[in-house]
């Protein structure tokens, strides 16, 4: 019998083939050593929109040494998530589903608990840009669909997660945008959903002093969202503003997603109390120490 912490841990034989470890009421199958590694401080983090772009970059940083976190990855497509699971055996649980459905968010939290025994953090990254269109042409169903993904989806996730995040003194990072407080022709839907996101980060910090929250503006990155912006949305934007995004690409001035993504993860890990509830751009001088060198 192994006694890791005398009196706190018991190993029980549940069947001929499996043992279970019971610690403080949590029972975990010993064939995954994840629960033991949790005792050693590897965080358990949910990342939404983890199949590509900034989400994938953040997942990779979490999974790789030295962090070697356990992650629950959520996206619409399963293959990229499975690829992470294959690359980092034992560290990944994943869920492919529609984040605008409450169940997807609740299931992600439940998966973290059932597979890894705890929840230390969430990175709310999944978002859509569509529709880019002026209010004069607004399709309210399209705006609502964007809100379902970009904003409302976070509420059932948080409601399910908060008890676990309180227990672990957890961290929540929200991926925001400069569009939350700068106003561009045609960007009312996306921009206002990010204003709501910033607001949620602040309220959550005020309501839950044990939980660190931060809303990060990642700037303009070299991702699929930017491709869509350049190639599809030009007709609905102000020409000079669309031009700015085209130039950023041709001038090679787009950030690799790992740059702001790195700041997000470093903030999640270090969780400086004085920044809880705040919204800042990744390149803000107050965040200099969180940029990977």
């Amino acid at each position: 019998m192994i006694h890791l912490f005398k009196g706190l841990v018991q190993i029980r034989r549940i069947s001929e083939k499996s043992l279970a470890i019971e610690l403080c009421g949590y029972q975990q199958d010993l064939t995954s050593i994840t629960f033991i590694t949790n005792l050693l401080g590897m965080p358990v983090v949910i990342v939404t929109g983890a199949s590509r772009g900034m989400g994938a970059a953040m997942a990779r940083k979490l999974l790789s040494a030295p962090i070697s976190a356990k992650v629950v990855l959520v996206a619409r497509t399963a293959e990229p998530l499975k690829a992470f699971a294959d690359e980092f055996p034992g560290q990944v649980a994943y869920l492919s589903g529609d984040i605008s459905k409450d169940e997807t968010n609740v299931d992600a939290v439940k998966l973290a608990i059932s597979k890894f025994g705890a929840l230390d953090g969430i990175v709310f990254n999944a978002a859509i840009l569509d529709p880019i269109s002026a209010v004069a042409k607004a399709d309210s169903a399209a705006w609502k669909k964007l809100y379902d993904i970009n904003f409302f989806s976070m509420l059932p996730a948080l409601r399910e997660a908060i008890p676990h995040l309180k227990a672990s003194k957890g961290k929540v990072i929200f991926v925001s945008s400069g569009a939350s407080h700068h106003y561009f022709y045609g960007w009312g839907a996306y921009g206002s959903s990010k204003a709501a996101t910033d607001h949620l980060a602040a309220t959550l910090a005020a309501e839950e002093p044990d939980i660190f929250t931060f809303s990060l503006d990642p700037g303009v990155m070299d991702t699929n969202m930017q491709i869509a912006l350049r190639e599809t949305h030009g007709t609905e934007m102000k020409p000079s503003e669309h031009e700015r995004f085209l130039s950023l690409k041709t001038d090679n001035a787009l950030s690799p997603p790992s740059l702001p993504g790195g700041v997000a993860i470093n903030l999640l890990l270090k969780a400086p109390k004085e920044l809880s509830g705040k919204t800042l751009r990744f390149s803000d001088e107050k965040l200099a120490e969180f940029v990977d060198k």
Partner: protein, 255 residues
């Protein structure tokens, strides 16, 4: 010069009714389409200002209500000069940990998406008259993060964003978002009497105290500012968000 034509939502009581009254009375003498769920207060206005009021009864959670109000203004009075987006609900008041998601979304239907749909219907008419729109907002939209006020507060953050986006998209239409402060209205009554338990105690105590000691403001000050901005708000303020009693809006606090 024909009388200006306005739509005021949530006009059956409180701030909305006060705004409508100021617009209907001299010197403005506007024609006003009033929109609310309950008819009673609006009928009073129609009786007090015969011929100047068109009543649209309906729930703004149904987006066609706002569209109907715009259509009524144009059908009855031939044009539209402005809208006061005042109608809003405060519930659900609940911490993020305990929120009912369906109630949260319903609040957004009334406080935000309805404004979007109504605005879209109104834009063609407002471009013609170089119209003005005023959105009623709240300090809960950004400065104070009140325990259990995420639904209402975030919806008002979105309203502020919409007002600012409109100013960028529609150079001929004046758009502003105004925080009216704490007023002696039914919304405050609901907060005191129904939602106290869910709120932070100190916040609830403050709102109860200002009512009990009589220092709570009336709707008149904010209604005056809103109606004046609706009639003559200058383009240099378009896209802004301000408290009704801020320095920059002080010229509009006078009748």
């Amino acid at each position: 010069m024909t009388a200006p034509v306005y739509v005021v939502t949530g006009a059956s009581r409180g701030l909305g009714k006060n705004v409508a009254e100021l617009l209907l009375a001299a010197p403005i003498l506007a024609n006003v389409v009033v929109v609310a769920r309950t008819e009673a207060g609006m009928k009073e206005l129609a009786e007090k200002f015969p011929g100047q009021v068109e009543v649209v009864t309906g729930d703004l959670a149904d987006y066609t209500t706002g569209e109907k109000a715009v259509e009524a203004a144009v059908a009855k009075y031939g044009k539209l000069d402005g809208i006061v987006f005042n109608a809003a609900v405060i519930a659900p008041v609940a911490s993020v940990a305990t929120l009912n998601i369906d109630e949260f979304k319903k609040l957004f239907d009334i406080n935000f998406f309805s404004n979007l749909v109504t605005m879209k219907a109104a834009i063609p008419y407002l471009r013609k008259t170089k119209g003005h729109v005023v959105f009623v907002s709240s300090i809960a939209s950004h400065e104070e993060h009140y325990y259990a006020w995420e639904a209402y507060g975030s919806s008002k953050a979105c309203v502020n964003h919409l007002a600012a986006t409109l100013a960028v998209e529609e150079p001929d239409i004046f758009s502003i978002s105004v925080d009216p402060g704490v007023m002696d209205s039914d919304m405050q009554k609901e907060i005191r009497e129904k939602h106290g338990e869910r709120m932070m105690e100190s916040h609830h105590e403050y709102l109860t105290k200002v009512k009990e000691d009589g220092t709570i403001a009336s709707t008149l000050g904010p209604a005056t500012v809103i109606s004046n901005l609706l009639v003559k708000g200058p383009m240099e303020l378009s896209g802004h968000y301000h408290q009704f009693d801020s320095e920059i809006l002080s010229p509009y606090l006078k009748a």
